[in-house]
């Protein structure tokens, strides 16, 4: 002992200072702490600012997609033209094409303008008729075919104005752009102004944006998210049905029952690796296996759901295993100690305690799957789908469909500027679904969490 004291370097004694005065080292430590806090606050501020900018951009672009320019005027559904035989026989009614309904609409429109004294100066009959969306005749025809008793009556109807007129009301189209535009003329815009004053043309809430099918480049005003929403709902339901039992069963087996050996280690490492595989790879896998090999119909929500299930499984397994591992081992000991079998221990005690974590992990996994685009492009869900899939019991999951994020992608790629607002509008709908799912996750967590 004495040797050490004699040979070792003398350690200076701590200087005797007042604790009321901050010493040099303390100042340095406090400064380091203050710097670290400042970095943290700056990082959060940047993230929040970015989020705010993103949301502002989306909402300022997208909110207008929920309102659409509509023309309201009375139409007489002339029986002589729509049903020459007069028998209201569906087979005969179908013979009148959209061209017939188009003429009916444009005639009624011009007649109404004349009656209201709205001048159509400088515009020929065709240019006036072109203010009405090209989708309008088909919509009118569908409603008449669905309800033949309308024939012979006069009815106030609201039809979409063309995308350009809509753009004019929303400020996207101006007189200057119209001069260089083949689809609209400045005279039509002047007429639109007069129609607005006469109360015939106005922006209205457009439920069709949520229910209509997609429409071609020439009819942006008629396009909607109906097929995409149905497709996304089908996929989420199928993914939840497939991913939850498989993921939870796999996790329970791996965590509680599997022997710890080289083989299970390998599986474990590979599950972690799979979670990091780019999603487009799963798309190629789905294309090769489900479509080319198994022969399932392409563009169908079933194939989409299978691909997304494969993609989400590793995430769910990792989250579930973490939740199982978080259950204190003393509970397992207690159950085994009173003679519960392994399975009883897991299902009576461990699983109920892990349930909130498992549910949260699963719903967050599903939420990220809802926004998945790349693999769906590869299995053909980006196709233009103009028909609604059938109901879930009629095999609708095998019908072609799109999904919300894919619809965002395909609208963003269209040339007509009218699709920009629709693309942002679709993002708003997608965000709404994500918020709902996260809220459900929080609620379930609160509901099932045991505070004792």
């Amino acid at each position: 002992m004495s040797d050490i004291i004699a040979t070792g370097a003398a350690v200076p004694a701590r200087p005797k200072n007042s604790i009321l005065v901050e010493d040099k080292l303390m100042k340095k430590r406090n400064a380091a702490e203050a710097r670290f806090k400042a970095y943290g606050i700056a990082a959060i501020a940047i993230s929040l600012a970015t989020l705010a900018i993103m949301l502002w951009t989306i909402f300022s672009d997208g909110v207008s997609a929920f309102r659409q320019a509509t023309l309201t005027f009375p139409v007489t559904l002339d029986a002589a033209k729509l049903d020459p035989q007069g028998a209201r026989n569906p087979a005969d009614l179908v013979k009148v094409t959209t061209v017939g309904y188009g003429t009916l609409l444009t005639t009624a429109f011009r007649a109404h303008l004349q009656e209201k004294g709205v001048s159509t100066e400088g515009l020929d009959d065709k240019a006036v008729g072109d203010m009405i969306s090209k989708a309008a005749p088909a919509q009118l025809r569908d409603s008449v075919l669905a309800n033949p008793s309308l024939i012979g009556t006069t009815k106030d109807i609201s039809v979409y104005a063309t995308g350009r007129i809509d753009g004019f009301l929303k400020g996207r189209v101006t007189m200057q752009t119209a001069e260089r535009d083949a689809n609209v003329s400045p005279e039509q815009l002047q007429l639109a102004d007069r129609l607005r004053e006469a109360g015939i043309l106005k922006l209205q809430f457009n439920s069709g944006f949520l229910t209509n099918t997609d429409a071609s480049d020439q009819r942006p005003e008629a396009s909607g998210l109906g097929v995409a929403i149905i497709g996304s709902l089908y996929m989420m339901a199928l993914v939840a049905l497939m991913v939850l039992p498989v993921g939870v069963a796999a996790s329970i087996y791996l965590e509680e029952f599997a022997p710890k050996n080289r083989f299970t280690d390998l599986i474990e490492v590979n599950i972690s690796n799979l979670a990091a595989v780019p999603s487009i790879v799963f798309g190629i896998l789905g294309l090769a296996i489900f479509i080319n090999f198994a022969g399932l119909p392409q563009s169908s929500s079933l194939v989409g759901a299978l691909v997304i299930t494969l993609m989400t499984l590793p995430t769910i397994i990792i989250a579930t295993r973490a939740a199982l591992r978080a259950v204190p081992p003393s509970i397992r000991d207690a159950a085994l100690g009173v003679g519960a079998s392994k399975m009883q221990t897991v299902f009576h005690h461990v699983l109920p305690l892990a349930a909130p974590g498992i549910l949260t992990g699963t719903i967050l996994g599903l939420a990220s799957a809802l926004g998945e685009t790349a693999p769906l492009l590869l299995i053909g869900m980006v196709a233009f789908v103009a028909n609604y899939p059938a109901g879930p019991l009629e095999g609708g999951v095998m019908d072609p469909a799109t999904a919300l994020p894919v619809q965002v992608y395909s609208w963003a790629a269209r040339s007509d500027p009218a699709f920009i607002e629709r693309s942002s509008g679709a993002i708003i709908v997608l965000l709404f679904f994500l918020v709902v799912m996260n809220a459900i996750a929080i609620l379930l967590r609160r509901r099932f969490e045991r505070r004792w």
Binding site: P328, S330, I331, D333, A334, V338, G339, R450, W452
Partner: protein, 265 residues
Amino acid sequence: MNDMSTAEIAATTAPAKITARNVQVYYGATHAIKNVSVDILDKAVTAFIGPSGCGKSTFLRCINRMNDTISVCRVEGKIEIEGEDIYDRRVDPVQLRAKVGMVFQKPNPFPKSIYDNVAYGPKIHGLTRNKAELDEVVETSLKKAALWNEVKDRLASPGTGLSGGQQQRLCIARAIATHPEVLLMDEPCSALDPIATAQVEELIDELRSQFSVVIVTHSMQQAARVSQRTAMFHLGELVEIDATETIFTNPSHKKTQDYITGRYG
């Protein structure tokens, strides 16, 4: 030194409930229990004492095969309960644990109601035929665990809401509800305050009339108070086992004497 303790055991006239012969336990490459042979008597409390890491808890967990849950753990030798080898190939440890109950160091009630905590064992082992019988088992178990009067009005409230001492008595009630023949207690009072400890000790003394109780303890006083026989472990070996009085007044081994007088360990 094993010869010595075997001779001591031979001197006891009461029949042994549990007989362990040449038990070896390995954790991977570590030899944790070395050639331990003891006899544990019925309707008596046997205390296992010894310094930390001497293997007394490990040996305790061999008796209901809780060590099976540790994959690297390997047990050799023979442990018989009334002549039946519990490490026999035909024995299902789950069935064994209904016979050999266990109370753990830290109170670990299930996050369920007090009633469900006690009723769980009888339920999974099919010991009762209807709700009335189950109610009866819950009541008698809680009474035996000296907890009934404190909880009879709140059987539906969570077991985890009780105080530490009450929780440990609940765990004892849970263990005796399955009508075990042997009750293993791994330092049951180490997380309790002196008052709760006294209550649990009193309880152990009462339980002795029905069960063979084995208790691991770090407290010499506790071993002296509650047990009739005491086994001293050191570095995975059994130093000696004898009547508690003999161990504390006239131990045959110097190691035991050093340990109980506080000079060692």
